[in-house]
């Protein structure tokens, strides 16, 4: 510990929590939205830099916080996407103010909530205590609920309410699971806080009562799975994505889903550590396939562009769940890679969609046509982004899908077929919608995009490069984590 601190002047983990928390309070006080937007970006940048410092920090597992390879992957990714999103939102939200959809007061609230959400998510990722993790995820849910309802339209409230109710039930189930985990641990590690410290549980997992652990996992899978948006628990996701401000859609798809997934993975590790338990793999694969196929079909009937990509998020979460459920070094690697790529690509897509909705003044797919003609840069950017998310090369998604499909077919041929069918289904729907959006005679609405394309460009560049070349340290790290995930 001391040597570690000597190596690094400070311990980054608490800082990562402190910055957004403080920023949240601060932003709640700043009146001018320009200042607050700038502050928001600054805070996110700081957080991201500190998160990078984590890479050098020692892997610690204290009573409150834990830093291991698994959550570093998530933390760095989260803070990065949060940072780019804040840049996007700074240029985006101003326009909302001009069009009068929002008031300065709203923006104050919005920025405060943004930071609060980040704080909550980072806490969920870093906390070593399962109870704290649960509380953090609940707080994250509440903040996003408030932001989804930000526009106060009938539809927005409807969406927020749906999200809220389903989220609360999910939270409740997750809590029951957490309690059960404690009860499993309590006879082994004794009463008191230790029974909820993940690192402690991992050490003693072999002595736990497997049957009760199974029950616990069922509740946790359903509880946090609701947050991940796995079918049939996904109902809140499309509406929440389509009715909230676009940056929030990006954050939801790019970050919150990952955080919930992370929670599921933590418990999967716990299950994997005990030989006697019911293998969590089949459950995750089943729900993953269900999400994939359901989303694949749902995509065809979409009329709202944001809801379209929300369903695509469900599809990809299904893929990731399937990958982790399949297990094995290759599939887990594919899962991690796919999760990273999905976060980057999907947030990039939502950036583009945000611009599109602003220039076209609508979210209806029917009214968005011929973008490559009316807004070449934006249009082709969207084409690239959608091609990337659809798994066309040279995007990193292609690599993860390649690894996933090949290894799945090698090990479980009969699962690979529905997997491939789902992929093709979703691909078809996305491409069909894309052809309408990007090509043909342009629809009215051709005013310039004021916001900057930078965040989108950065994300897409990363994604495209990833398909061709992954830096060795990243690979080694992913492979290690993949090994951990068993």
């Amino acid at each position: 510990m001391m040597t570690a601190l000597a190596a690094l002047p400070f311990d980054p983990a608490p800082v990562i929590l402190a910055i957004p928390a403080a920023a949240a309070v601060l932003l709640a006080l700043v009146p001018s939205y320009r200042v607050s937007a700038a502050l928001n970006v600054g805070a996110c940048a700081l957080t991201f830099l500190t998160a990078l410092a984590l890479l050098m920090a020692p892997r610690i597992a204290g009573p409150f916080l834990i830093v291991d390879d698994l959550n570093i992957v998530f933390v760095v990714l989260n803070t990065f996407v949060a940072f780019t999103t804040s840049v996007f939102s700074a240029s985006y939200i101003g326009h909302e103010l001009e069009t009068g959809r929002l008031t300065p007061l709203h923006l104050r609230f919005y920025h405060a909530m943004y930071q609060a959400l980040l704080a909550a998510m980072n806490l969920a990722l870093l906390s070593n205590n399962l109870g704290v993790m649960w509380v953090a995820i609940e707080v994250a849910t509440l903040t996003t609920v408030l932001m989804v309802g930000l526009y106060r339209t009938e539809a927005a409230i409807e969406a927020a309410w749906k999200y809220f109710m389903l989220g609360s039930v999910g939270i409740a189930l997750a809590l029951f699971g957490t309690i059960l985990v404690y009860m499993v641990a309590q006879p082994v590690v004794g009463e008191g806080p230790d029974g909820m410290i993940w690192s402690v549980l991992m050490k003693r997992a072999r002595d736990f009562d497997p049957a009760l652990l199974n029950v616990a996992f069922v509740f946790l899978l359903l509880g946090y799975g609701t947050k991940v948006g796995l079918a049939p628990l996904h109902a809140w996701l499309p509406d929440a994505h389509s009715e909230g401000p676009t940056p929030i859609s990006a954050v939801l798809s790019g970050l919150l889903l990952n955080v919930a997934l992370y929670a599921v993975l933590r418990f999967k590790l716990l299950m994997a550590a005990h030989p006697g338990t019911l293998a969590p793999g089949p459950l995750m694969m089943a729900m993953g396939l269900a999400s994939l196929l359901l989303a694949g079909f749902m995509l065809y009937r979409r009329r709202d562009i944001k809801r379209l990509f929300a369903y695509s998020s469900i599809e990809h979460m299904g893929l990731i769940a399937f990958a982790f459920g399949l297990g094995g070094p290759v599939a887990n690697f594919a899962g991690l890679l796919h999760m990273t790529m999905h976060s980057l690509t999907k947030s990039a897509i939502f950036f583009a969609v945000g611009h599109v909705c602003q220039v076209k003044g609508t979210q209806k797919l029917a009214d968005i046509r011929g973008l490559t003609t009316s807004h070449p840069a934006l249009g082709w950017g969207l084409v690239v982004a959608v091609a990337a998310i659809a798994g066309l090369p040279p995007a990193g998604v292609f690599m993860s899908e390649f690894l996933l499909v090949t290894s799945a077919f090698a090990h479980r041929p009969w699962l690979a077929l529905p997997l491939v069918a789902g992929l093709l289904l979703a691909f078809g729907a996305l491409m069909a919608k894309l052809s309408g959006i990007a090509f043909g005679a342009p629809s009215p609405g051709s005013d310039k995009v004021k916001a900057s394309y930078l965040p989108m460009a950065v994300h897409l560049t990363l994604v495209l490069v990833a398909g061709l070349y992954l830096p060795p340290p990243l690979v080694a790290w992913f492979r290690h984590v993949a090994g951990l995930l068993g």
Binding site: W161, K162, M165, L166, V169, L173, A211, N214, V215, V218, F219, L221, L222, T226, P232, L233, A235, W236, L278, L283, L294, F297, M298, Y300, R301, V330, G370, T372, P376, A390, L392, P393, P394, F398, M399, F402, V405, T406, S407, A408, F409, A410, A416, V420, L423, L424, L425, G428, M431, S435, G436, F439, G440, G467, L468, Y469, L470, P472, V475, R479
Partner: protein, 681 residues
Amino acid sequence: MSEAAFATRLLLNGQLLVALVAVVALLALGLLGVAMASRPAGRSLIYGGALAVTLVAGLSALTAIAAPPAGIVLPLGIPWIGAHLRLDALSAFFLAVVNLGGAAASLYGLGYGRHDHAPARVLPFFPAFLAGMNMVLLADDAYTFLLSWEFMSLASWALVVAHDKEAGNVRAGLVYILMASFGTLALMLAFGLLAAGSGGGYAFDAMREAPPVGIAAALVLALAMLGAGSKAGLVPLHVWLPLAHPAAPSHVSALMSGVMTKVAVYGFIRIVLDLSGPPDWWWGIPVLAAGGVAAVIGVLQALLQNDIKRVLAYSTIENIGLVFVGLGLALAFSANGFPAAAALALTAALFHVLNHAAMKSLLFFGAGAVLTATGTRQMEDLGGLIHRMPVTSAVMLIGCAAISALPPLNGFASEWLVFQAVLLSPDLPAWGLRLMVPAVGALMALAAALAAACFVRLYGIAFLGRARSPNAAEAHEVDAFSRAAMIALAAVCVGAGLLPGLFIDALQPAVAGLIGETMPSQRSVAWLSIIPVAESRSSYNALLVFGFSAVSALIAAVVIHRFASRAVRRAPPWDCGFPNASPLAQYSAASFAQPIRRVFARGLFAARETVEMPPPGALTPARISTSARDPAWAFLFLPLTAAVGAVAERANKLQYLTIRQYLGLVFSALVLLLLVLALWT
């Protein structure tokens, strides 16, 4: 073996280096295209650059056919595998085809591109497309292969939707990208099996060392047929092809039809003949069947089309069918222990690959020339172009004769070889094959005859007779670049037709690499004729036949002009008592196809013709309207899409449940899982 593989892997020879540089250069040109698209100089820069690069790459690939294989591993792609690249005889041959075809297309583009109204949507993707095809041929591990394969599809898709304002192009692009992705997924599964056999090694070397066995091998064959077949245009996976190929700009159509389908053939050969180990005795059967069916259905559909480029696209399906017949024979022979015969069949297939690349590119260039000159692709609006566009119509005549397999041109040479291979097949032990092969031979013969009919129709309607529209009457010959490209390809058609022996010999390294046996060398044969097996058995000398008939034609002409009359008088054609009939009174494309439509297309294609005859005395012309369907759409894809739509409609109800009902879903999921736990022990 492994040491050998390793040794070759590290060896980087000049040709491979050239190929790599070419790929990089083409990609760079693509990026440059993004920047230069708007400038006028951009066109000549991009096409000129592509021409130079592909020409060099193609020539160096030609020299690489006979060279020992070379390979290299780059730190790209899947991290723990790396990007394996390899240049052996087979890939070298296909590289030559791809790049020379690409060179011709670039040359053509130099002139043709001038008429393109949306260069910004073509220039960046054209070199990228070429680069993608090159990468596929160089790839030596599954990931690199599929990445390049899909990249090729993506680039060509962008080119298909380049003119997205024209009706149907976007839909064509959609169908294309869907089928392409289907094929890629099929190949992904195939590679999954191959890799599983070799313990997760995605490199082709690893796969070669542990080929699949039994059911796995059969699955690989099936998946390869689905994957490569969907790209090559095997029936019934061909539906995208007649939509997409015509939609693209003509020089791109030429690339897609003439060259990209060959890359698909390469993929099939690589997977089935190289990676899947020794074939089973029956492997030939499905391949032969697919080939024969594709040949006949393709050419029949071609006969029913009125759009020149669609005719050409369907005829591509026919020729791909012929190639697959050759491959099927090669599989059957090599599986049943007749390597020599297998070598003959494979040579025939590869030779036809080369020939079709040349002819079909030539024909698409011609179609493009007609399009620029008249602004239409509809045969019904053309006619009499032979007077307006002498060069184009001359080279088109060569192209049509070649693809109709007329001696002494190249189409006949390769088809003749396939027939010779068919005639060797009675030696095959398996009954299934014995019944199969002659039937497929008959299908081939039928396809050949129908192809002749098809191109008589194409050429006769579009280039002969009288102009059917003002545009056709006003047509002008196209620019020098386009003419040069077409003449070059026509020269290839004639050359390969007259001297097939040289080409056959050049192919042997590739054949030997796959079959382990070669055809007898043709260089030694007297009079440059070709003898596939033995002289007593069969031989063919195009040069002699050509000279023979040329001389006799000359003699006849000289004698007649010298001793009989040479007088010529121009007069109106015999009008049967109805003076100055309008050009519309000529036989139209639809009416020309009528007999064949009635004979062949009634049942499967549901070809119908309705004649609306005006009442006596009315001045309105009588109209005949014809309709035909593509069975693949009717019986496979439309029902499929309908099914997906229906399920989607059902599933869509889930979007409109109430919160209570959603909670119900969660609840039932919970209860279900708890029940599972309760029952699970």
